[in-house]
Structures are given as structure tokens and as C-alpha cells.
Amino acid sequence: MSAPALLIDNLSVEFRTRSGVVKAVENVTISVGKGETVAIVGESGSGKSVTAYTAMRILDAAGRVTGGRIMLGAVDLLTLRESELAELRGREIAMIFQNPRSALNPIRPVGRQIADVLIRHANVPRALAAQRAVELLQAVGITDPARRAKAYPFEMSGGMCQRVMIAIALAARPSVLIADEPTTGLDVTTQAVIMELIADLAVDIRMATVFITHDLALAGQHADRIVVMHAGHVVETAPTAALFAWPRHPYTAQLIAATAESAASLQELASIPGSLPDLQRADLPPCRFSQRCHLKTTACDQTLPSLSPNSTHAVACWNPLQ
């Protein structure tokens, strides 16, 4: 296997807050190969967005990386200066944010926003940038792109704004794309079109895609591999089909059982008992799921089993489901 396009290696992130230190992400390892789509799935508070933001080095000022590396090819992003990062962002690694309307500049026409990226990151001469921006709008499926290029974000629908953001993210043909809940808030019909658009473009330029979502079914439909996170830990990682067919971590199994897509009736849906542990506690159990887990044994209070790095279906559990 060739070197991954993006390797998040043993990453730990803490937040210092007034009420204490929150261990938001702990020893998270995720690797994404060229042309591969990896979905990070988890509920709110699972650390999936913190992981993504850290990979982009746009973590909130209160956040601090306490360990690990973010390898983009042979470069550790965590060691770079801001000026060096600016050279890589947009060109090598790009991000699509949740809620496109607030992520775009509200007082700049969308064509100009795309042109900005082309000039800054894709070495496109200023004179050609406007024309290239129109071509990109066309490529993301916006009808009448020449007219739309002059529009402001508020004049466009949510789906169109998301297309614009995709055009911006992919303008410089990055090798890694991080998509943070790119379709949350969009209609299902638009969601399907946007997800397929990202997938098609990713195939075109052999881009590694990290797709962050809380929607297990959507991840199942679009990812090659799924990483399940719970309370800042990766609990299971597996190829998509294997994860759904043989979930091994109790949390993954419960998450699948709680997903409305899988059930024939409301009674069949199973809720997940308990809630996320308080990540500020000093005495967090090694397995952060143990208090919600029906398979807990004394071994669970000792150490957390590490995910075996070489197996394709890895699980962090002493008593995995068979």
C-alpha cells in the first residue's frame, strides 16, 4: 500500500475552558489514501469536527494539540508556520464547511470569491480568473453560470451556495478534501446531488476525501471506509460493507440499530442508553463508552485496547461482538 494522502496520527486535542480541561480528542488515528473516501461518523460531542479542524490547523484558540502528527504526504502540518500553511491550504488540502451561507463572504459576488482562490492558490493569471470561475460554476452544475457568478450568496439557494463552496474548495485541485457535514440543512434531493457531485469530482482528480457526518446511512452510501467516533475516541474503523454487516463495537451496533433507515417499525428502533461522559472529568474511564455498555467487564476499567493498525477492520473493545 502506498503512503496515505492524509494521516492523522495519534492525535490528542484539549480545550482549556473556565471550568477545566476538556479532553475532546484522544489518540485518534485516521489514514486516508489517494482517491479514497473515509467517513468519520459520530454524534455531537464525539470530536469529529475537532479532528477535522485540527487537520486544517484552524482549531479554536482555546484548543491545544497535546500529541500526535497530521501528515500531509511527508509534511507534518502541526510543525508548519502560518505562512507555510497558507501555501498548502486551498492548494493541497481544502475544506467544505457546514452551512455554506455563513461560510461564504456575504458581501462579495460568488464568482469573485472563486477567482480569489484561483489567483492565490492555483497560479491563474488575474485576467483569466473571472472566466475560469465561470467554468468552475458550470462544472459544479450551476445553470447560467455567467449570470450566477455576479450573484451574492443571499441571492442563491442553500444548495447553490454549497455548490459554490465546492467550486472554491476544488478550484486548485487539492489532494485532500475535508467535508464537514456538507449537506446538513439541505433537502434530501439536493443532498443526493451534492454528495454525488463531490464523489464525481473526487474521482476526477484522485482526491482523498474525509467526509464528516452524523448520518450513518449517508456515510454508508458514499464512503469506502467508515471511522466511528465516540467521546473523542475512535471506537471502530472498517470498510463500509463490513461495518454494517458485522459491527464489532457495541456502540457501532447500537448506532446502527438507532438509525431510522434500518428499522421496519418504530418499536424496532433501539435507543442508546446513557449519554456521553463528561470529558472534563479527571477520572475518565479508559474506555469512554464503558458506562453505557452492556458488555462491560473489569478489563474495561484497566486500559483501552488499541486499534490494531494493520487490520482493515479494527475495534477498540475488550469484548467485541463476533
Binding site: T189, Q191, L216, A217, L218, G220, T240, I256, A260, L269
Partner: protein, 340 residues
């Protein structure tokens, strides 16, 4: 049997554009009528006692306007809203707020975190409608609030807390407890689980199903999560640009959608591990809801099957078989088959 709610030919239009000096002048001269958004356009449906009806459709299709009309928060342009044989459409919304039927129709809003007054404790949030609509106070009020909280599985110890001190699931329970406290017969739910994580969503859905069984309420359940609608609802209404395009029993609509829009909608729902399945995709943009051509099907332009017939005559919602209705020229009424 008389349905609990019967909506007939309900229409709501909004004028667009600010009446600036020029448009005021134009109006005075009456040369050009102001353009109007047809938010809800000739919608008819019924809800039986104890029935759960799901309302689905994309954002901007008029779901929320329809819900506001039914709950009488806004006034319709025309049409009738028969609630238990009484026509509520004539009553101005302002008057309905103090009407004897107000407690009988209640609403659960989308995000309880946003819709509950942040300076109200959970107790006050639930007590507010009881005070205003039932005139309760003191011990009687406390008993009712605690009963509603209990029915919604909200621990009484949490009643002193403020919304920001509650989790998303607990806030959703407060929003539901507040609505059922006055013992409504029709509960209108506007995406009650949209802001929740899956594990919490399950609990809230099961709570809603239990309350329905215990209290015998009818639900009008608005959502764009079709899977949730499929699990909770008896019947589905599919809305597109102000019109109902398909109606029928949830299971039948899901398994065999007839209208091309419903087909695309259901095909777009992600299913666990169904990567290579055949899918219908919509291209193009929705037609404008501003002064739409009354003879052109609203779906024309995005519809994969649109023909010239669709631009000459607006398809009407017509019965297909005993239980279903669909508004499409391509659906053969005789054979109950979608031609698409």
C-alpha cells in the same frame, strides 16, 4: 365519520417587494398588481381522530406556511379550515389566540432550544400555556405541569432548570410537555427531531408514539426526514411548491411512489449500505413560486418525464384507487400505475 380537521382549497399568498414610493404610486394607478408568492395554493386534506399525517417536501415548498395556517397563527387568503365542523378560517389569527378552540390545536416547534423563552425555567415554559389558556394557578397549575412533565419522561427535578441547562433531548421533552399540557386534540409537530442526535431522536419518536396511544391525539407531523415519517405516520402528504402532489398511506407511498417528485424524493433517501442502487435524480431548478402560470405543472422543468401536456394544463390531485391521490398527467388513473 367526520374528520377532526378538514382543510379545503386553502390558499395563502404573500405580496413580494417592499411597497416603496414607486410601487405605492403604481398601485394607486392600479396599472400593475404587486407580484405574489403562492406559498400555499389550493390545498385540501383531512385528518381523522387519532390519525397521524406526515407532511413532507423540500424547504420552500410551503410546509411551514401550511402548518401556520392550520394552527391559525396566520390568516389564509382563501379556503376553509374545518376543525371539528367549525370553520376557523374566518377568525382573525389575533382573535383565535383567545378562542375556546385554541387549546385544542397545539404545536411543537422545531428546535426547543430556540423556541422556548431562555428566561423561562422548564416549569414556567410548561406552565405558560396552562396559565394563559386554562387560567390555572397555584396547586392546580403545579399538578398539571408535573403531570405533563411525567407523561413526557421529564424528571421533576429538572423543572427548575433553564433551557441552556438542559440537554437537547430534555429540551425536546419540555417542548412536547408544553404542547400537551393543555390536552390538545390535534398536535402539529414541525420537525421535532431535526436538531437531535440519532440516539436521542429514537427516544423522542417513541415518546411521541406512546403519547399518541395514551392520549388519543391526532398528529400533523412535518419533516424532511422521510425515514422518520415512514415510521411514525399513517398517511403522507407530499408537497411541492405550494401544492400537494401526492397523498396516501405511508407504506404504499414509500414502497410505490407514483408522482415523479415523490419518486425522486424517496430515491434520494440514503439507505444503509446501498451504494450502487439505481436512483432518480432531479436536474434543473425549481420553478419560481412568484405568480406561477396557473396552467403549467409546478414540477415541470425538473420533472424527468415532462411533456408539452404538462405546460397546457395543471394536473389536479385526483384519486388513484381507493386510498391514494396523485397530481400528475402521467399517472394512469385506471390501472393505478405510474407510467414513469
Amino acid at each position: 365519520m367526520i374528520p377532526l380537521l378538514a382543510v379545503t382549497d386553502l390558499t395563502k399568498r404573500y405580496p413580494v417587494g417592499k411597497p416603496g414610493p414607486l410601487s405605492r404610486l403604481r398601485q394607486r394607478q392600479n396599472t400593475e398588481p404587486r407580484p405574489q408568492v403562492y406559498a400555499v395554493d389550493g390545498v385540501s386534506f383531512t385528518i381523522a381522530k387519532g390519525e397521524t399525517v406526515g407532511l413532507v417536501g423540500e424547504s420552500g415548498c410551503g410546509k411551514s406556511t401550511l402548518v401556520r395556517l392550520v394552527t391559525r397563527l396566520i390568516d389564509p387568503t382563501s379556503g376553509a379550515i374545518l376543525f371539528d365542523t367549525r370553520d376557523l378560517s374566518e377568525l382573525p389569527a389575533r382573535r383565535f389566540a383567545r378562542d375556546r378552540d385554541r387549546p385544542r390545536i397545539q404545536m411543537v416547534f422545531q428546535d426547543a432550544g430556540e423556541s422556548i423563552n431562555p428566561r423561562f425555567s422548564a416549569f414556567d415554559a410548561i406552565a405558560d400555556p396552562l396559565r394563559r389558556l386554562r387560567g390555572l394557578k397555584g396547586a392546580a397549575l403545579k399538578a398539571k405541569v408535573e403531570r405533563a412533565a411525567g407523561q413526557c419522561g421529564l424528571p421533576l427535578a429538572l423543572l427548575t432548570r433553564y433551557p441552556h441547562q438542559l440537554s437537547g433531548g430534555q429540551r425536546a421533552r419540555v417542548g412536547i410537555a408544553r404542547a400537551i399540557a393543555v390536552e390538545p386534540e390535534l398536535l402539529v409537530l414541525d420537525e421535532p427531531t431535526a436538531a437531535l442526535d440519532v440516539s436521542v431522536q429514537v427516544v423522542v419518536l417513541q415518546l411521541l408514539a406512546r403519547l399518541r396511544a395514551e392520549l388519543g391525539m391526532s398528529y400533523l407531523f412535518v419533516s424532511h426526514d422521510l425515514n422518520v415519517v415512514r415510521l411514525l405516520c399513517d398517511r403522507i402528504l407530499v408537497m411541492y411548491l405550494g401544492k400537494i402532489v401526492e397523498a396516501g398511506p405511508a407504506r404504499m407511498v414509500f414502497n410505490d411512489p407514483l408522482h415523479p417528485y415523490t419518486q425522486a424524493l424517496i430515491a434520494a433517501v440514503p439507505r444503509l449500505d446501498r451504494k450502487a442502487a439505481f436512483r432518480v435524480r432531479l436536474s434543473g431548478e425549481a420553478r419560481s413560486p412568484i405568480d406561477p402560470d396557473p396552467d403549467v405543472c409546478r414540477f415541470f422543468g425538473r420533472c424527468p418525464h415532462g411533456t408539452s401536456a404538462c405546460t397546457e394544463r395543471m394536473p389536479r390531485l385526483a384519486p388513484v384507487g381507493p386510498k391514494r391521490e396523485v397530481a400528475c398527467h402521467r399517472v394512469d388513473v385506471g390501472s393505478f400505475q405510474s407510467v414513469g
